[in-house]
């Protein structure tokens, strides 16, 4: 502990997924016995780097050294052997087992595979060192998330981990619980452990980390000591100089007197929205600005009938929606949603291009339930040409397409529906520059044709440059509405962070 040795050394690491470079030329050194932050925007590569160190991903190039030993095989098991444990955003515990059983899972006191007991005593020794105050016999399913996190940390320590990677550890904690977690982290540091802290909560990072590595677009911007850093310096480095991106020209915003296509009045849902009011007019692109988990996707799902609205009113073209409003009804009313996860929620990967493009509008290319194959093939050809989908085969295997071309297939599916309201959730996530440009043009095309567009993206730049008007969201509430021209990325980000903090403080005060 007295020698300032290097706990983790990453040299020249690069990683691609499906042809998209997500990490490139990464060099990072993490000193032993420090708390080291990895920050960056969504998609900057911070979690991916964490997962390479934790052994979950194998880098395509470059090497990783843990406590002086070069990592030869990348697997979580091998990483643990070298002293690295990763604690995920979604905790990985066995909910039906108790705390002791989880902590020693796979490391039970045993002889020839038969449990011999004694784990409770081992746990007591561990608890003495950690002082977490957890009931050793409580079933994990009954614990709160903050306590489960402690179980994960104890599990890491029980496995003699020297380096503990925490991926977004405070994202589901209250401010109070986050404080207690930071207390634990300080104690770990006092014991000589190294903590790698991956997060986008800049306040937590500023207050609790010794060093920071800032990432942008899969590259390291810089690694520096935290002293002298402010929120502003971090945000500036995270965003960098705005890259020279050409944004398509927006059509003029519709007049405010134009009756809206869709309107929410004080809507709440079981998924966490409360008192959400918004309007979307024909030919208007409306952006939703907020952090992951702020309720952006939930707004989209409520508008699309995918989640039930429990309070307030939803009007489509001035007429209130009544009864159980389903996806089927939403599509019939002219609403379309391109969901955020194209592989899980959008495409049927066992089936070809033609099948996927027709899936949302089967009623239109059929009579009495019998498909008109000619019309279907014509429509597929048209879309392949319109979006420039490659390969251009009508029955191409979508499962093998690149991310950009998969996304184009998904957009085609809703373009053929000729919607009145088009909701796009992360439309350009994980696609190459060319496809991204085509998708942006498509968004503007739709608005020009009089479609109302609701745009959601984790890239604030995209939302601000492609929208007429933005709503700012935090914790399931809309707290501000601005013309996009009046917003900058920095200003929007700062306001969202501030709002989140003050909301959490209010919650703390209330409880």
């Amino acid at each position: 502990m007295t020698t300032p040795s290097i706990a983790v050394r990453v040299r020249g690491v690069a990683k691609s997924f499906g042809g998209t470079r997500i990490l490139e030329g990464i060099d990072v050194e993490i000193a032993a016995g420090t708390v080291h932050a990895l920050v960056g925007e969504n998609g900057a590569g911070k979690s991916s780097l964490g997962k390479i160190i934790g052994g979950y991903y194998m880098p395509d190039e470059g090497e990783v050294e843990i406590l002086g030993a070069r990592v030869a095989r990348f697997s979580p098991r091998d990483a643990l052997g070298l002293g690295v444990a990763m604690i995920h955003q979604e905790l990985q515990l066995a909910p039906e087992l108790n705390v002791v059983q989880n902590v020693f899972l796979g490391r039970e006191s045993q002889r020839a595979g038969i449990l011999v007991g004694g784990d409770t005593a081992r746990f007591a020794a561990l608890e003495k060192a950690c002082d977490f105050g957890i009931d050793p016999l409580a079933k994990v399913a009954t614990l709160r998330i903050a306590e489960r996190q402690k179980v994960e940390i104890m599990r890491a320590i029980a496995r003699d981990a020297q380096v503990i990677i925490m991926d977004e550890p405070t994202s589901s904690l209250t401010e109070d619980e986050a404080d207690r977690l930071h207390e634990v982290i300080r104690r770990l540091k006092g014991q000589g452990k190294t903590v790698i802290y991956v997060s986008h909560f800049l306040d937590h990072i500023l207050a609790n980390c010794d060093n920071v590595t800032i990432m942008r677009d899969g590259k390291v911007v810089r690694t520096s000591p935290m002293t002298g850093e402010t929120k502003q310096t971090l945000v500036d480095s995270m965003l960098g100089q705005a890259a020279e991106i050409l944004w398509p020209a927006l059509p003029a915003a519709p007049a405010e007197t134009l009756p809206p296509i869709a309107e929410l009045r004080g809507v709440s849902t079981g998924t966490g929205l409360s008192d959400v009011s918004l309007v979307i007019r024909p030919g208007e692109i409306v952006g939703l600005v907020g952090l992951v988990g702020s309720g952006r996707t939930e707004v989209a799902r409520a508008l699309f009938g995918a989640d039930r609205i429990t309070g307030g009113e939803y009007l489509i073209e001035g007429a209130p929606v009544r009864g159980r409003f389903t996806v089927h009804d939403a599509i019939a009313a002219g609403v379309a949603l391109v969901p955020e996860d194209r592989r899980k929620q959008g495409l049927v990967l066992t089936q070809p291009t033609r099948f996927n493009i027709s899936l949302g509008t089967l009623g239109r290319i059929s009579r009495f339930g019998i498909l008109d194959r000619g019309a279907e093939i014509r429509q597929t050809r048209e879309m392949i040409g319109h979006f420039g989908i490659v390969p251009g085969a009508i029955d191409g295997r979508v499962a093998r397409y690149s991310g950009g071309n998969q996304q184009k297939v998904l957009l085609s599916k809703w373009a053929v529906a000729k919607p009145k309201l088009l909701i796009l959730d992360e439309p350009s996530r994980g696609v190459d520059i060319g496809a991204r440009r085509r998708i942006h043009d498509f968004i503007v095309e739709m608005a020009r044709q009089g479609v109302g567009v609701l745009l959601i993206s984790s890239e604030l730049e995209e939302v601000i440059n492609l929208s007429h008007r933005c709503y700012l969201l935090s914790e399931g509430r809309i707290f501000a509405e601005e013309p996009a021209a009046a917003l900058t990325v920095e200003a929007a980000l700062t306001r969202v962070f501030l709002e989140q903090n003050s909301q959490r403080n209010r919650q703390e005060a209330a409880s």
Partner: protein, 324 residues
């Protein structure tokens, strides 16, 4: 349009000549061709119209059940109750033919199957329980019903107006075979040319995507189980008509034979992909194995063993294509 497809598809062109892929795709047809050739050479009595139609005729109930089961499996489900529904439909048909009217019996049996299948589907979707568990349980319930209906006894049916379905022939071809072919054509049309067919593929391939495409996924699932039950009922009444006997234990084990045939044909049990012709080929292959044992006078004790080994080989072959 054609020239847009010329760019950037070298891998697709290469794949067109990939022998491994071809074998994985059409393996079941290759095995059938080899079997036909071998049996023709080994026995002069094999390649006769009489023997070939006989094979089809004997397997008619299994063809019908496997055909409909394909829909369930493509839709991401599993149906273990077809044998038991077959039993209920058999004894119901026998009872109705004797006590009410032969024609009513013939019409009622598939409807009873449809009803029992719908009950499967409704339980599966209402409680969101895996179809494997639900149909395992209902298969016991339905079999119990079949036994209760007859009090465990057999019901002989000596009614001329009832026997035609299983026994009458148009020239060389049994009426039952024609019914089977018509049913198969209907299922193929439904799966490939209708919006319902599309919905079944979508539900099995990606249920969430299907939901977010406005498909009523629960209704689609219920329909697949209803069709599967209806097919088991149809198969049941054909068999009773052929044997002139309603038997509560009839159809025991058919559920597994049908599943084996679907898998042998190459339809993925993961759902979302597959074809009716594959299951038909699967049934045919199993029938050929049985017929081969008969005409070659091989010890029939080896029949199941051989079928099982071929299924393992077929599944293993198909799985080699899934590795990355």
């Amino acid at each position: 349009m054609a020239d847009t497809t010329l760019t950037k598809t070298p891998s697709a062109v290469r794949r067109r000549f990939d022998i491994g892929d071809f074998v994985r795709q059409y393996g079941v047809l290759i095995i059938i061709a080899v079997m036909l050739l071998a049996l023709t050479m080994l026995s002069p009595s094999f390649l006769t119209p009489r023997n070939l139609f006989n094979i089809l005729n004997q397997s008619t109930p299994l063809f019908i059940i496997a055909c409909a089961l394909t829909l369930v499996i493509i839709g991401g489900g599993f149906d273990l109750s077809t044998g038991a529904i077959f039993g209920v439909a058999s004894v119901s048909a026998a009872y109705l033919a004797v006590n009410v009217d032969p024609l009513v019996a013939i019409i009622a049996a598939p409807l009873i199957g449809l009803l029992l299948g719908s009950i499967n589907g409704i339980i599966i979707t209402a409680f969101n329980v895996h179809s494997f568990l639900v149909t395992l349980a209902t298969s016991l319930v339905y079999r119990g019903m079949a036994i209760l209906i007859t009090n465990g006894k057999l019901i002989p049916v000596r009614v001329e107006e009832f026997a035609w379905l299983g026994r009458a022939k148009l020239d060389l071809v049994n009426v039952a075979v024609l019914v089977m072919l018509a049913f198969m054509a209907l299922m193929m049309f439904m799966l490939n040319r209708t919006t319902l067919g599309r919905a079944i593929f979508a539900v099995g391939g990606n249920e969430e995507a299907a939901l977010l495409s406005g498909i009523r996924t629960n209704l689609v699932k219920i329909i697949t189980f209803a069709v599967s039950g209806g097919a088991a009922g149809l198969a049941g009444v054909i068999t009773v008509s052929r044997l002139s006997m309603g038997e509560p234990q009839a159809g025991t084990g058919y559920e597994f034979e049908a599943i084996a045939a679907v898998i042998l044909g190459g339809t993925s049990i993961m759902g979302g992909a597959g074809a009716i012709w594959r299951s038909m080929a699967g049934v045919l292959l199993m029938a050929l194995i049985g017929n081969g044992f008969n005409i070659l006078n091989v010890n029939p004790f080896f029949k199941d063993l051989t079928t099982g080994v071929i299924i393992v080989l077929a599944v293993a072959l198909a799985a080699t294509g899934n590795k990355r």
